[in-house]
């Protein structure tokens, strides 16, 4: 034993030497795999969109460089050629002997973070680019936090505990809760291990914690913000490879690891100090928020008056006004606080500009009002326009007297006609809105060529007929906003939250506070004896059931029991279901299949059911090891029978069949009978059907006992 230990110890030492020698590496995902920034992202990748006149990815790369990262892999997907072109022309490539090596990985087919990481893993076998722990961020992260200590912490922990494969950066931030979806996490206060992660729970909604978590002290927080900065060990890549259905980094991967207690991988959290800044731009609202934070210098030294990535520094004046040295501005223009004016921009007489960012090479006419807006490069705004809380992309022309109401997004090269009023929240693009309804998790339009076809091929005709939309001499389509999204629109646009909504939220929050005080304090420690956590998960169960049914139906075609079991298990872990729930869902799917198979009479239906049960009882059996689970199935079946008139009469027969096939034990049936005995008369329909069976079972067991004695 001692002899065996020695080489192991030696290896550990070697490993530690390896760790110190490793280059610090980072993977930057230059694609967010969402559609929040449409229609802008149809023409340009999100990471190249200017954030206070500097492309987002420059903030990320500058931060990674100064945090001591030596090699960055930029993963490009949509518009990969644009990203690569930009990087090749930028300082990151042209610099001799750089501290930061920038490489690109291109995979146009990836549609999610999961795909991206799987692609990197596949490449890994050939090139072995990723040598050790790496930092995983998306290309829209703005931060100034140091990483060296964090990576060291991760490595030390990894050395002690092989299973600690990921460290997640979180930040205390009470205000983003109002804006974005709320995050709810549970952390072990001593080890900082992440125990529970739940995103997007509505305020005041219920959160369910696994009961086993409550054995020890748990810190439950709902005022944390996930910075989407992760320190990962190489195992993370292989885990993505193993679990081919992981798509979303948080929803699938993190939750997958948390419920999967077989492999026992652990995720830890690291809360950054309040003196550092970290944020991610995932929708227009956070774009607005981060822009303002940059102007207020929270991101120092990544601020517009410092040349941190080859940008031309602006001059900072009083009241947070940043101005390019060659910007031309009339004396009568009123430029208010927190405004940025880029190089080569000309501003006419008598305008009023405040809280806005104006890019390079814009020309702005006289008497223009611009407030809370983001005007990108080379935009022409003619006299007397009024622009409030809008995003105006490169090359847009706004003719005299036009008005952009709050929340408007004008994509590239749109022309707005004279005196035209663009209605609030509308999104205007030269490209037509894709007609297929996309899920929110879909890829940003894969390739520019495809969309160009859409424009040229589809209809020049329509462009003219629809052209009246934007007033005389204009180009562009107004995208339709579906009704359901409209209600939520205020949440995601650049407009400051309307006062009434804000009041609603704060009121709701106050109410919550009062109600919840007894239940879950906003952020506090739950002792193990607290049992006030709600375990109500009906919604989840509904989804789960539907998914299991789908999987089951799909799998049946393949006719492979093992395959079905594997698929169902993965669903089970994803939804954190008990095996009783699984059994219920599987049985439900089987019965649905039976009912849906064409049949003429009740007996034929019974035959269908029996064949299906015989065939798939292996699957069921796996989840029905205990009596409780079997009772669950019977009760599930009862529910189904109530819903379907056809199945009703067959209840007793099928239960008997289940008993014959050893899927359900007699104990379960008897206990079910006992439980039901006390129920309402209306509930007893099926019990009565089964009376004969139960009677028979009882007798049988008594006989057995007699024989025994």
């Amino acid at each position: 034993m001692g002899a065996q230990k020695k080489p192991a110890a030696a290896r550990v030492r070697d490993d530690s030497e390896d760790l110190t020698r490793q280059r610090l590496q980072a993977i930057v995902l230059a694609d967010s795999f969402t559609t929040q920034f449409r229609p802008i992202t149809l023409e340009r990748p999100k990471v190249l969109l200017p954030l206070v006149n500097i492309p987002m990815i420059d903030y990320t790369l500058a931060w990674l460089e100064s945090a001591g990262i030596e090699e960055v892999f930029v993963f490009c997907c949509a518009h990969s050629s644009q990203v690569i072109d930009y990087l090749e022309k930028s300082e990151w490539y042209s610099r001799p002997n750089p501290n930061l090596l920038v490489r690109t990985i291109v995979s146009p087919k990836s549609t999610s973070v999961g795909d991206a990481l799987r692609y990197i893993y596949e490449q890994q076998t050939e090139t072995s680019q990723i040598q050790g722990d790496f930092v995983l961020v998306s290309g829209d992260t703005v931060s100034n936090m140091p990483l060296a200590g964090l990576i060291q912490e991760h490595r030390d922990r990894k050395k002690k505990d092989e299973k600690a494969i990921m460290t997640m950066v979180i930040k205390k931030d009470s205000r983003l809760g109002i804006v974005s979806d709320q995050l709810f996490i549970a952390v072990d206060p001593l080890t900082k291990q992440l125990l529970h992660y739940e995103e997007g729970t509505a305020r005041g909604g219920d959160v369910c914690l696994d009961k086993s978590l409550l054995d020890s002290t748990v810190l439950v927080c709902n005022d944390m913000q996930d910075c989407y900065i992760d320190i990962c060990s190489p195992e993370v890549l292989s885990l993505f490879e193993d679990n081919f259905d992981y798509q979303h980094l948080r929803r699938h991967f993190v939750n997958g690891l948390l419920v999967d207690d077989i492999m026992g991988y652990k995720i830890f959290t690291h809360e950054i100090q309040s003196s550092f800044y970290a944020a991610r731009i995932d929708n227009l609202r956070s774009y607005d928020m981060v822009s303002k934070n940059i102007i207020q210098r929270w991101t120092y030294p990544y601020v517009p008056d410092i040349n941190f990535s080859g940008n031309r520094p602006l001059k900072l004046g009083r009241q947070g006004i940043y101005r390019a040295s060659d910007a031309v501005q009339s004396r009568s223009t009123n430029i208010g606080a927190s405004t940025v004016i880029g190089y080569g921009t000309k501003i006419g007489n008598g305008g009023k500009i405040f809280n806005s960012v104006i890019g390079n090479g814009c020309s702005i006419g006289s008497n223009v009002v611009i407030q809370g807006s983001y005007i990108w490069n080379n935009v022409t705004i003619e006299d007397g326009c009024e622009i409030r809380n809008a995003i105006v992309c490169d090359g847009v022309k706004i003719r005299a007297g036009a008005v952009l109401q709050p929340g408007v997004v004008l994509s590239f090269n749109v022309v707005v006609g004279r005196n035209f009023v663009v209605p609030a929240y509308s999104k205007v693009s030269l490209l037509q809105q894709p007609t297929t309804e996309d899920s929110d998790e879909e890829l940003e339009y894969a390739d520019r060529s495809g969309t160009a076809d859409l424009l040229s091929g589809v209809n020049n005709l329509q462009l003219e007929s629809k052209a009246s939309e934007l007033g005389p001499d204009r180009t562009g389509y107004i995208w339709e906003v579906c009704d359901s999204a409209h209600d939520e629109e205020w949440k995601h646009s650049v407009i400051p939250i309307p006062m009434d909504k804000l009041a609603d939220i704060t009121r709701a929050m106050d109410d919550d506070d009062i109600e919840d005080e007894s239940v879950v304090p906003p952020s506090g420690e739950l002792k193990s004896d607290t049992d006030s956590i709600n375990t109500d998960a009906n919604d989840d169960y509904g989804y789960f059931e539907r998914e299991v049914e789908e999987t089951f139906l799909m799998a049946i075609i393949k006719d492979d029991v093992d395959h079905v079991i594997r698929l169902i298990n993965s669903r089970r872990f994803a939804y954190n279901m008990a095996s009783a729930d699984c059994a219920g869902a599987v049985f439900y799917s089987m019965m649905r299949l039976a009912v849906n198979t064409p049949h003429n009479s009740a007996s034929e239906l019974y035959r269908n059911a029996t064949t299906i049960i015989t065939k798939w009882k292996g699957v069921l059996g796996l989840y029905l090891k205990q009596t409780d689970e079997q009772i669950e199935v019977i009760m599930k079946f009862e529910e189904m029978c109530e819903e379907s008139a056809e199945l009703g009469p067959l209840f007793a027969q099928i239960v008997h069949f289940l008993y014959d096939k050893d899927v359900v034990q007699e104990d379960a049936i008897l206990r079910w009978g006992e439980e039901k005995a006390g129920a309402d008369e209306s509930d007893k329909v099926y019990l009565k059907q089964c009376e004969a069976l139960i009677q028979w079972l009882k007798e049988a067991s008594e006989e057995e006992e007699e024989e025994d004695s």
Partner: protein, 407 residues
């Protein structure tokens, strides 16, 4: 050359990202970088000085642009340029002198220099003499004859030393470059030693049982106070903490570790305490040509308090902090506005900071530096001694060439 280029880029990068802080560290890095630039610079036969000046200027411009707020960078670049000009001048005068001294001179310059060989000793002396005659004598050189004469033998001996080594292959090219590098080495030496130079004078300024006030943290001040302590002076120090970075806390810790009686006070208590104080000692970020001082934020307040109570306000500055520019130039009075996170926690005042929604909006301004006008300063102590603010322009004229003021 490429490796020099990459070190330049690396240094520029550090300056940009504000990774190097403190004027002494920056000055040191800058001068070392410039030394390697000079030593790697290939010089043509004709007009070598111009080639060197161009090379240094090109690099210097990049460095200054990288962090215009750090004035020490510009100062050091100008110092190096001055050294090049001086050496060039002394060489030409030496050559001329050599022509006079040696009858057996050859026709062209290079051979001439070869011919000098051993009489280099005299040439160096001539150069030094020429330097002092060519320049109008400054008040300093008139008053203190000793330092000037002390430097002459130093340069001449070292010059002779190396001359004999490189005599065989010496050419005018190598000579100039060599002299310049020698001069730059001396500058490095000077920057490294400025703390001790200044601290040596401590005993003359700090007396028994005095109370000294300082603000923020400065290595020069620390050394200065400790030097007085080592000379068995006993005195007390008040340290204003220097919000929002609270570097005064660090200074106080250091002082206590070295056995000084130290009291930490808030910045706002300076006025209340000033009547008990005998002298205010401050480390400067930069000293302007008019005698104005750029120092850590809050310094002006302390200076005004000191004036009100007629307490001497003493500024310590190494010679690399003397800036040949005047503060009327907005380019120079740049102030670095740092992150508001030093004042507030992010999100603490989120509702007021999210401007645009309501009527008013909260702005957070966190400047790094303060400007103290020259009339508030009683005395400057540099590595060459104590000076009156009105004399600073003259001192600065010794260190810089007028040609380099605008780079």
């Amino acid at each position: 050359m490429p490796d020099v280029q990459s070190t330049v880029v690396e240094f520029v990068n550090k300056l940009r990202k504000r990774k190097i802080e403190g004027s002494q560290a920056t000055a040191k890095c800058t001068v070392e970088l410039l030394r390697s630039v000079i030593s790697h610079q290939r010089v043509p036969h004709a007009n070598q000085a111009a080639a060197l000046i161009d090379a240094v200027k090109a690099v210097g411009e990049q460095l200054v642009a990288a962090n215009p707020v750090e004035l020490a960078v510009g100062n050091v670049v100008r110092r190096v340029l001055h050294i090049i000009r001086e050496e060039d001048l002394s060489l030409t005068t030496a050559a001329m002198g050599g022509l006079d001294l040696l009858d057996a001179s050859d026709d062209d310059d290079v051979d001439n220099c070869k011919g000098i060989g051993y009489p280099a000793m005299s040439a160096a002396v001539v150069a030094a003499a020429a330097r002092s005659t060519l320049r109008p004598p400054s008040l300093q050189t008139l008053l203190e004859g000793t330092p000037e004469s002390a430097t002459v033998p130093y340069t001449s001996s070292s010059g002779a030393d190396s001359e004999s080594k490189t005599a065989d292959k010496s050419s005018l090219t190598r000579k100039l470059k060599h002299d310049v590098i020698e001069g730059v080495n001396q500058l490095i030496h000077e920057i490294a030693g400025c703390h001790e130079q200044i601290a040596e004078q401590a005993i003359e300024h700090i007396h028994q049982n005095e109370v000294i006030l300082t603000l923020g943290s400065s290595r020069t001040v620390l050394e200065f106070l400790c030097a007085a302590k080592e000379k068995k002076r006993s005195f007390r120090v008040f340290v204003a903490e220097g919000a929002p970075r609270y570097q005064g806390h660090l200074l106080a810790k250091e002082l206590v570790a070295r056995g000084l009686q130290t009291t930490v006070i808030t910045d706002s208590a300076v006025f209340a305490m000033i009547s008990r104080v005998n002298m205010v000692i401050i480390g400067a970020h930069a000293v302007m040509a008019n005698g104005g001082v750029i120092g850590p934020v809050g310094v002006n307040m302390a200076a005004l308090a000191a004036q009100k109570h007629a307490v001497p306000f003493v500024v310590l500055a190494g010679s690399h902090k003397l800036c040949p520019l005047y503060p009327h130039n907005p380019e120079v009075l740049l102030n670095e506005l740092r992150s508001p996170s030093e004042l507030l926690d992010f999100g603490e005042f989120s509702d007021c900071l999210d401007f645009g929604a309501g009527s008013g909006s909260l702005q957070v301004v966190n400047p790094t530096f303060d400007y103290v006008p020259p009339n508030l300063v009683s005395l400057f102590i540099t590595d060459t001694g104590g000076h009156n603010p009105s004399y600073m322009y003259r001192l600065i004229a010794d260190y810089y060439s007028a040609d380099d003021l605008v780079m």
